[in-house]
Amino acid sequence: MNHIPTQEMDGHAGTTPTVIPNNSETDDSPMGRTYLAVLILETIVLAGLWFLSRYFSS
């Protein structure tokens, strides 16, 4: 369970109470494939825009 430092620990007057989130709140599924898909799609979109601009501007 993650311990979230509070403002009291840092010497500041705290105003936000610390809430320790349960596991569902910190659900941290791997996103690597999604990031890769984003980069691949951006490459495809950029290539598509380049091709279309060359095709219609020729």
């Binding site: 709140e25 951006e42 979109v45 950029l46 825009l49 020729s58």
Partner: protein
């Protein structure tokens, strides 16, 4: 406009406000009002992220830009997908696990209350002014296009938005944004269908785009490296990357969106929706503008799209000169139309020389028409003294209200309102959050009941809605103010990004380093902006790097008083 179009707009406004207001049921805690109790699904958060970023200025300005300049503006967004990935890996889990309401609250955890307060103050100033501009810009255009009183138009946009945001909180903002995105996309689709159907029967879309392509409007990628040029691949990939990191990572109006997600993964997925969809959507909006250009190749456009100036010129001492220009314009349009038809027909023949000759003639006729329009614009500037005159933002609304069928007009005007209201709602909610959490609760009333803070939150939302509407009423008379306010964003985002970079990347960075780094960053950006011609996109890079370097330098000469918290 026809009665049915007004009915559609009225139904839209009533539907959106009532949908927003019903979200207020059971809303009795600040955590629900500002963060929806972290209960929202990733797709709803993703759509509200997109709706918040896409204001009416995007819808009417970008289409106008596509009409006059073509597709180049899409490069502005090339850094966005990488920015979304970086934020998903870094700031999203940081903010989520820090259990904050605002991005700037995290800065107090990491540095001190002074840095938090300065950052939040900069946000309030920047976003507060921009909220007024987001109302003013479409209000001016719609009041002219629809022949409405300007003040009433401003209030018609600002008041309903304020009401449902004030009572419904972030739940209202999110779920109305979802519906408004659907309306925006439906409106765009309807416009594109209308544009394609408006071409002559013998001219295909491909042929029309080829003709438009001879003017350079379909050129999308510019690989030249020129710091003074705004729209290039490099300014978009690098300058745009920093802008998007600053905006989506450090602007409360966006940060608050993904803080409402059910989990860290849902928050990340919401940003991935923008990463996937933003560039294609932006290309579609620009293409709509290009299609408006192809439409007006074969259907007579007005010489000036702003009818107010057109009427002013016809009753001014320059009337005779203006009428002559208009007559020349009509003749030049006829010539260009014939040349466009010939250029399209030439492409059906296997004769490259014929195509080249037809294209050259079309380009000549297009240039002649452009020169007459430039002369008309110069005449307007001379007659009115308005040096910032431009009718680019009136191109798309003029096309919609004069060329599309009944019903479709109402849908697209509703889409423009939806784009404005979705952005404004998120801004008002985030302004209220920063005001209550970073200032009122932090500095003035530290212990009070949730009921008290709820009351204050609603009041501050109403306050910011009223303020934005008043700013809009003044902003409409100060054309350059809109530009100044928008460019202030460039001063702000890069510098604030630099502070967060210090917070996350440099564990020994101190509070003093962060505070004076922020001051140094904004000073550097101001100096560069005033003494050079570099594009504003690069100012984000300047600000981030300046804050980072100044912060490191000051921190290096000051021992850290506490361990850095993650």
């Amino acid at each position: 406009m026809h009665f049915i179009d007004w009915l559609i707009i009225t139904i839209y406004l009533i539907w959106i406000v009532s949908d927003g207001l019903k979200r207020s049921k059971g809303l009795n805690a600040v955590r629900g009002y500002f963060l929806a109790n972290r209960s929202l699904p990733w797709w709803a958060v993703g759509l509200t992220v997109m709706a918040t970023q896409m204001s009416a200025i995007t819808l009417v300005g970008t289409t106008g830009q596509g009409y006059t300049d073509g597709m180049r503006f899409v490069q502005f967004y090339f850094g966005l997908p990488v920015a979304m990935i970086i934020l998903s890996v870094t700031l999203v889990p940081f903010f989520y696990r820090a259990n904050v309401y605002t991005a700037y609250e995290y800065l107090e955890h990491r540095f001190d209350v002074r840095t938090r307060t300065l950052a939040s103050l900069l946000f309030l100033l920047s976003r507060g002014l921009q909220a007024g501009v987001v109302i003013a810009a479409p209000a001016v255009i719609l009041s002219i296009i629809l022949n409405l009183n300007l003040t009433i138009t401003i209030l018609a946009i600002g008041l309903p938005t304020t009401v449902y945001t004030m009572f419904g909180g972030v739940q209202a903002v999110t779920w109305t944004d979802v519906k408004q995105m659907v309306i925006i996309v439906a409106g765009l689709a309807a416009a594109i269908v209308g544009l394609v159907m408006g071409l002559p029967d013998e001219i295909g879309v491909g042929e029309a785009l080829h003709v438009a392509g001879t003017t350079g409007r379909l050129l999308t990628l510019d690989f030249t490296f020129d710091l003074n040029e705004t729209y290039t691949v490099w300014s978009g990939m690098i300058g745009g990357l920093f802008l998007m990191l600053g905006y989506f990572g450090c602007d409360q109006s966006q940060v608050q969106r993904y803080l409402t997600a059910r989990s860290v993964t849902a928050g990340r997925q919401s940003l991935m929706l923008s990463a996937f969809a933003k560039i294609p959507l932006q290309a579609l909006i620009l293409l709509t503008g290009v299609l408006v250009f192809t439409f007006y190749l074969f259907n007579a456009p007005p010489m000036l799209f702003n009818t107010v100036h057109d009427q002013q010129m016809r009753s001014s001492p320059h009337m005779a000169e203006y009428e002559e220009l208009n007559s020349n314009f009509l003749q030049a349009f006829n010539d260009r139309r014939e040349a466009a038809r010939a250029a399209a027909a030439a492409r059906r023949m296997p004769d490259p020389n014929g195509i080249e000759a037809a294209d050259a003639l079309f380009q000549k006729r297009d240039l002649e028409l452009s020169h007459i329009r430039d002369d008309a614009k110069a005449l307007v500037i001379e007659a009115t003294g308005d040096r910032s005159y431009s009718d680019v933002n009136y191109v798309f609304p003029t096309f919609v209200t004069t060329q599309l069928p009944i019903g479709v007009v109402g849908l697209i005007i509703a889409a423009i309102l939806a784009a404005a209201m979705s952005s404004i709602a998120a801004e008002l909610n985030s302004l209220s959050t920063a005001t209550v959490i970073d200032f009122y609760r932090r500095h003035f009333r530290r212990e009070a009941s949730d009921e008290h803070y709820m009351r204050v939150s609603k009041m501050t939302t109403g306050f910011w809605g009223l303020t934005a509407s008043i700013i809009a009423m003044y902003a409409v008379n100060l054309g350059t103010l809109i530009e100044v306010v928008n460019r202030f964003g460039s001063f702000f985002y890069g510098s604030l990004l630099g502070v967060f970079m210090l917070a996350i990347l440099v564990r020994w960075a101190t509070a003093r380093g962060a505070f004076w780094g922020l001051i140094g960053g904004m000073t550097s950006v101001t100096a560069v902006a005033l003494t050079s011609e570099i594009s504003f996109l690069w100012l984000n890079v300047v600000g981030a790097i300046a804050v980072f370097l100044v912060g490191i330098a000051i921190s290096a000469f000051q021992p850290s008083k506490k361990p850095a918290s993650s």
